[in-house]
């Protein structure tokens, strides 16, 4: 059972109270964009075996979205953070680097 910290409620929440929302930090495109940009935004995914950033919603709690940094190969959780950001905060990156030196994900490292 996956347990994540909801940054809004400031408490540990187990997976049954959460809804997984897929990849985080997806760059969005609107009307008038190229087919390839829509393809990247809507369908292409990092899907790494290792460090992953993703969206979660505390559905059966505060109902709010937050982001998590997790490892898909070990199920380790590096931390969670506010969804109101376009990139993972430094503290999260440092927490990952401490355990996975040299990691990268999309354009982040």
């Amino acid at each position: 059972m996956l347990i994540l910290h909801c940054p809004h409620c400031d408490r540990m929440v187990d997976e049954t109270d959460l809804h997984a929302g897929g990849e985080a930090h997806v760059k969005r495109f609107g009307p008038g964009s190229e087919a390839e940009e829509f393809e990247n935004y809507l369908f292409m995914r990092e899907n790494p075996k290792g460090v992953h950033f993703e969206r979660w919603r505390h559905v059966y709690g505060c109902g709010k979205w937050f982001l998590a940094a997790r490892n898909t190969a070990t199920l380790e959780v590096y931390g969670t953070y506010s969804a109101q950001t376009t990139e993972p905060p430094q503290a999260i990156r440092d927490a990952i680097s401490a355990k996975q030196p040299g990691w990268s994900w999309g354009t982040f490292q």
Partner: protein
């Protein structure tokens, strides 16, 4: 290869079974092959088999990081059906189902194909309309399915409770020629036939890199050395994104865990496959007597081949109303596989941005049923550069918005 037959069993019985030969050899990697297939699951092995059988291409190696059939092929619940909604799906899944009918003879290996019939229950008004539409589509596609009444459902599967309070059974989509097969045997049968054609099946050999020259594939790096190739087929299911990245492109795939479980063996009580998509559960009985049960996928990206226990609980809970017998069953084993899910829930059989590399993935939760058809089509794609069966399954369909939207037909993972 010594052929398997009733006579061979009798002959070996008289000499203490000393005359059986290995089904496939322990091959050492050669420096170069015309074609390398990565992944010795059902789809990879079937691709190799039809490359040899249909196109005479036998200088082929199948590279496998673990053991042959140890991926999703050896972890699935073996439901075979072809009652899909969209024409391209019906074509490739029906090709597969019809090849399954003669597969044991073709491979000279008993894959235990059992066309016992597959029933998809309608438990809401919405499902009634959806499945009746599928029956009409199937009739036009030449796939034999029918809409059956609740009374007929009960007749075909007496252990079912059709008037449960929450989800009564309102009818079903019935494909009499669907069923199950032995998953390991499908992998083993193809492997044996490939080895017999002189192909190398190399296990414990992980592909760690892909080498290219001027946009064209030249070979792979593996844990057992570098190997050159003319063409490369990537058929690695849950690891498709990881391998594509090594070749420098991205795929519209997410990898998640799908779990299943079996009960202790009980007396024969159910000779059809039943799927209940609204409540997310399905069940059949194996030849050993175990009730084989599956449900929906876990929600998040995962490569660990295990999922969260509450999904098991949800699946079993979903089935208890319709199958009261489940409430008294002891469960024996539970496991997971990593399935490769695309945006439209349909597979990808496609050329890639790298010349000479072809990809076959995205079968997600339901690719066992497709193995022979997928291998057939993929072999044609790799040998000739195009195949009528794969045309619509190109990875570019996401760019052009030409989806093959089967998320409704798939409903529950199977």
């Amino acid at each position: 290869m010594k052929r398997y037959s009733a006579f061979a069993i009798a002959r070996e019985a008289f000499r203490q079974h000393s005359g059986w030969t290995r089904a496939w050899g322990q091959a050492e990697p050669k420096p170069r092959y015309d074609v390398i297939i990565v992944g010795a699951g059902g789809h990879g092995l079937a691709t190799a088999y039809y490359l040899g059988k249909n196109f005479g291409i036998t200088n082929v190696a199948v590279l496998e990081k673990g053991w042959l059939g140890g991926g999703n092929t050896g972890r699935n619940t073996t439901i075979i059906r072809s009652n899909y909604l969209q024409d391209p799906s019906a074509a490739i899944y029906e090709k597969a189902r019809s090849l399954y009918e003669g597969l044991s003879q073709d491979l000279n290996y008993n894959v235990m194909f059992s066309p016992r019939g597959v029933m998809m229950l309608a438990q809401t008004q919405h499902e009634i309309r959806g499945y009746q539409r599928t029956v009409h589509a199937n009739n036009l596609q030449g796939v034999t399915t029918e809409w059956i009444s609740p009374a007929r459902v009960k007749e075909l599967c007496p252990i079912m409770n059709i008037d449960g309070p929450r989800y009564p059974v309102l009818g079903a989509l019935w494909q009499a020629r669907g069923g199950t097969a032995r998953h390991d045997a499908v992998a083993w049968g193809y492997a044996r036939a490939c080895a017999d054609m002189g192909m190398d099946i190399i296990q414990q050999c992980e592909v760690t890199g892909v080498t290219t020259e001027a946009g064209k594939v030249t070979g792979v790096n593996t844990t057992r050395g570098d190997i050159k190739c003319g063409k490369l087929g990537m058929v690695v299911a849950g690891h498709a994104s990881v391998l594509a990245q090594k070749a420098g492109f991205q795929l519209p795939i997410e990898s998640v865990a799908l779990q299943a479980l079996v009960s202790e063996p009980i007396k024969p009580c159910m000779d059809v496959v039943v799927m209940a998509n609204t409540v997310h559960g399905y069940m059949s009985q194996s030849d050993k007597g175990e009730m084989v049960i599956g449900g929906g996928t876990d929600g998040y990206n995962n490569y660990t081949q295990r999922g969260s226990f509450h999904h098991i609980e949800e699946t079993v809970r979903a089935l208890v109303e319709t199958f009261p017998i489940v409430g008294r069953l002891k469960m024996l084993r539970q496991w997971g596989g990593i399935v490769d899910v695309t945006g439209d829930r349909s597979p990808i059989l496609s050329k890639t941005p790298v010349e000479g590399i072809f990809v076959n993935c995205g079968w997600g939760t339901g690719g066992f049923k497709a193995i022979p058809g997928s291998g057939w089509a993929m072999a044609e794609l790799m040998a000739k550069g195009a195949s009528p069966l794969t045309e619509e399954f190109s990875m570019n369909r996401f760019r052009h918005g030409k989806f093959i939207d089967e998320s409704v037909a798939a409903g529950v993972a199977h």
